[in-house]
């Protein structure tokens, strides 16, 4: 890929690694704190043993990403209840769901190993503990826990490796981690970043495992020095992570949100670059899910991001009608301000609408020029969509408006969706009108004569807590109406093209240079 990929990966390493370490350490610590008493209870009470071990095993069977996703609605409900109670809610995104999911996820090896340790205790030693006059608590502290410690350490080592690996999945729920390399690398086909993320997370897991092994051997050989050295080094790592992560935040940085596709990375970088050029701190929180992004903004976890009018209209406002563009924008601005206190700064000037795209040759062969032409051949065709498309109201609107009944529907990560179309695995895909790959892959976008797809103007949204932030507004306002669809496509293609691809940051710099208005003063 580009010569800059590795350098750009290194530049964000302290931040990504710092968050990753903090999240993993917090989850592991919480897991240990919860697991030890649970395992003791399980070993003391045969009646509770089975349900407890079954529960922690059951949690393990849920895929890590799904577990994190599940915590979002639970936490959201809790946050709303808490808000009603105290007047102040908490964020259901980011650190909290990731922490809870990872904690639950890592409890199995710890609980099970400790329970096994207890089960393997020699009954003669328990009797001896009684015989020398120990109370129940003394027996636990002086005899049982030290003898179970090696089992517990084995469980903790397994849990640590799991947690560090699984923490990469915290990125989609809005928690920065080493997963940011993997998810954004996958999105922009930046394999250097994907590999970099995997390698760093593997190295971190290995290093932590070695330190835990040091503590383990210290326990086994009764060497206090080893135990102390291991614990101190682990603590030093966590402190260093906390230091790197918390320091930049203290420079009063803005948080720029980005959903999980190329255009969003570029626009977030563009906003970030403008803020930095104006002398402010800015951090990009990328890889947010589409629904996650708006909530993060409304809750103030993210200060600014770019969304699309049709998305807000259908998914946030739950409107099914299709008023003209200017009416829609006006109503939306009012509604967002009234309901959430969110400020709609304005449109960037281009549209990124859902569209149905086909390979030119395939469309010609089938005689398809508009979506209406698809109704006939659809039962013989396969349509590919990204993970969201088929559950979105836009798809229902198109499907019902044109009476589309495709033979097969497949979901893809968007990079692979384009590959599948080019390779002929699917006949039609859900594309985005500003996508650089439309031109690059020589695709045609099918016309929408019945206007079933609402407009998707790119709009700048600012969180309620930054609504009166003059500095932010000053940096953002010049962007309104400043980016044409061709410019955006070209910027997107710079990142997505197979040969000589650039980083989103480089594309953002190119785009920034094209915007006439100078930043700041």
């Amino acid at each position: 890929m580009t010569d800059g990929a590795f350098a750009s990966a290194l530049r964000v390493l302290p931040e990504f690694l710092g968050y990753h370490v903090l999240l993993s350490a917090a989850a592991l610590a919480l897991s240990i704190v919860l697991s030890v008493p649970l395992a003791v209870i399980a070993s003391r009470s045969p009646r509770l043993r089975w349900p407890l071990l079954s529960f922690v095993s059951l949690v393990q069977t849920i895929p890590g990403l799904a577990l994190m996703a599940l915590f979002y609605p639970i936490l959201l409900a809790l946050s709303l209840a808490w808000e009603r109670l105290t007047g102040e809610g908490f964020s259901a995104l980011g650190f909290l769901p990731a922490l809870l999911a990872l904690t639950l996820y890592s409890m199995l090896p710890v609980v099970r190993n400790i329970a096994t340790g207890f089960a393997n205790l020699d009954p003669a030693l328990i009797e001896a503990a009684h015989g020398v006059g120990m109370t129940g608590r003394q027996r636990l502290r002086r005899i049982e826990l030290p003898l179970v410690a090696p089992y517990a350490m084995a469980g903790i080592r397994t849990a640590a490796v799991w947690v560090i690996g699984t923490a990469t999945l915290a990125t989609p729920v809005g928690q920065t981690s080493l997963g940011n390399y993997i998810f954004s690398g996958l999105q922009t086909e930046n394999w250097v970043w994907v590999l970099f993320g995997c390698a760093v997370s593997a190295l971190l897991a290995l290093a932590v495992d070695q330190l835990l092994a040091l503590i383990d051997s210290g326990i086994a050989r009764r060497r206090r020095g080893r135990i102390r050295a291991g614990i101190l080094l682990l603590l030093a790592g966590v402190l260093a992570a906390a230091f790197t992560v918390l320091m930049p935040a203290s420079r009063s940085g803005y948080v720029v949100g980005a959903k999980n596709f190329t255009e969003q990375y570029i626009l977030a970088d563009l906003i970030g670059q403008r803020l930095e050029a104006a002398g402010h701190g800015a951090a990009v929180r990328s890889g947010l899910g589409s629904a996650v992004a708006f909530r993060a903004l409304a809750e103030g976890d993210v200060d600014v991001y770019v969304d699309y009018s049709g998305t807000i209209w259908a998914n946030v406002m739950h409107r099914a009608d299709h008023p003209p563009r200017d009416v829609m924008l006006r109503e939306m601005t009012d509604w967002l301000q009234r309901r959430h206190g969110v400020v709609l700064v304005g449109s960037l000037g281009f549209e990124n609408a859902y569209a149905l795209a086909m390979r030119r040759d395939r469309a010609t062969a089938l005689g398809v020029r508009t979506i209406a032409d698809l109704a006939g051949p659809a039962p013989r065709l396969t349509i590919g969509g990204d993970y969201e498309f088929f559950v979105r109201p836009e798809w229902a609107s198109v499907r019902d408006g044109y009476g589309l009944r495709f033979g097969r529907m497949r979901e893809f990560q968007s990079t692979f969706m384009y590959r599948a179309l080019v390779d002929g695995e699917v006949d039609v895909i859900s594309a985005f009108s500003s996508d650089g790959r439309i031109a690059a892959d020589r695709l045609i976008v099918l016309a929408d004569p019945r206007h079933r797809i609402p407009p998707y103007d790119a709009i700048l949204l600012v969180s309620p807590k930054r609504a009166r932030d003059g500095d932010l507004m000053a940096a953002l306002t010049p962007l309104v109406g400043a980016i044409s669809i061709d410019e955006m496509r070209e910027a997107n293609f710079m990142v997505d093209r197979p040969e000589g691809a650039r980083s989103p940051a480089a594309a953002a710099r190119w785009l920034g240079a094209r915007i006439a208005a100078p930043v700041g003063d």
Partner: protein
């Protein structure tokens, strides 16, 4: 069976009255209505076949097993008046499985009960040295881990641990069962010397009649949870109360005779 000896003037170290313990749903009795008084300073061996209830009876004394019924009085004080763990800290106990704590050093194992009693560190250290000496082991053994010791050395440590808090009563559950015959005899004799020297009241459970006869002042024979004989070794050897006890007690005599015969035969064969 009632205690055949009349109660003497000297106070009893241990007195059991009407003690019963049953196990399982069937309610089968491990021991039934046991009356037993053990005089201060005596060395009592409890013998009987497996399942006769001798170990259950021993564990009732320091409440490792709580009896269903009956009263246990230690040094004139009912055993239930204080928490079980406090009672146990004042009664030495030597385990069948030795039960040294593998994660603690020899010194830590020996010093555990004094530590639980809150003795000062220096006093515990002094006591550990004293006890290693008492069980005839070098002082530097204190730093070793139990895994690095032989079976006989481990049981010496087990005895030292039982005696650490200067108890007046020592309970031993098949203490030499897992040892080789030579070690077994050496350790048995060492134990008896300690008993005499420290003025202990010792109750030892064993299935080895030889051991019982050679070490104890008094042998209590149990069968199916009841005491069927209780007297000095000599009295039981000469005049056992029933056939069963006779055959039990006859074993050491029979073995001794066989050994004697073998030796004589060997001598004759060797001479001829």
């Amino acid at each position: 069976m009632a205690n055949p000896r009349p109660a003497r003037e000297e106070p009893c170290a241990i007195r059991l009255a009407g003690v019963s313990k049953s196990y399982g749903r069937a309610g089968q009795f491990a021991i039934l209505d046991i009356d037993l008084s053990i005089a201060r300073g005596s060395f009592v061996a409890m013998v009987g076949h497996s399942g006769s209830g001798k170990t259950t009876l021993l564990k009732c004394i320091n409440r490792l097993i709580e009896p269903d019924d009956g009263a246990i009085v230690i040094d004139g004080e009912p055993a239930r008046t204080r928490p079980a763990h406090e009672l146990r800290r004042h009664i030495g106990y030597v385990f069948q499985g030795i039960g040294l704590f593998p994660h603690l050093s020899v010194a830590e194992n020996i010093g555990i009960t004094p530590d639980l009693l809150g003795w000062p560190r220096a006093e515990i250290a002094g006591r550990v040295t004293e006890l290693l000496d008492l069980v005839e082991l070098p002082t530097d053994f204190g730093a070793r881990m139990p895994a690095a010791l032989s079976g006989g050395q481990r049981q010496r440590i087990g005895i030292a641990r039982a005696l650490a808090a200067r108890p007046e009563i020592l309970l031993m559950d098949e203490p030499f069962g897992a040892l080789d015959p030579v070690t077994r005899e050496t350790l048995g004799n060492a134990c008896r010397r300690l008993h005499d020297r420290l003025g202990l009241t010792t109750v030892m459970v064993t299935h080895d009649i030889f051991e019982a006869v050679l070490l104890a002042d008094r042998i209590v024979v149990l069968r199916e949870g009841e005491i069927v004989a209780d007297d000095t070794p000599r009295a039981l050897l000469i005049d056992p109360p029933d056939e069963d006890v006779r055959s039990l007690m006859a074993m050491p005599l029979r073995q001794a005779k066989r050994v004697r015969a073998l030796l004589d035969g060997w001598h004759e064969g060797g001479a001829g």
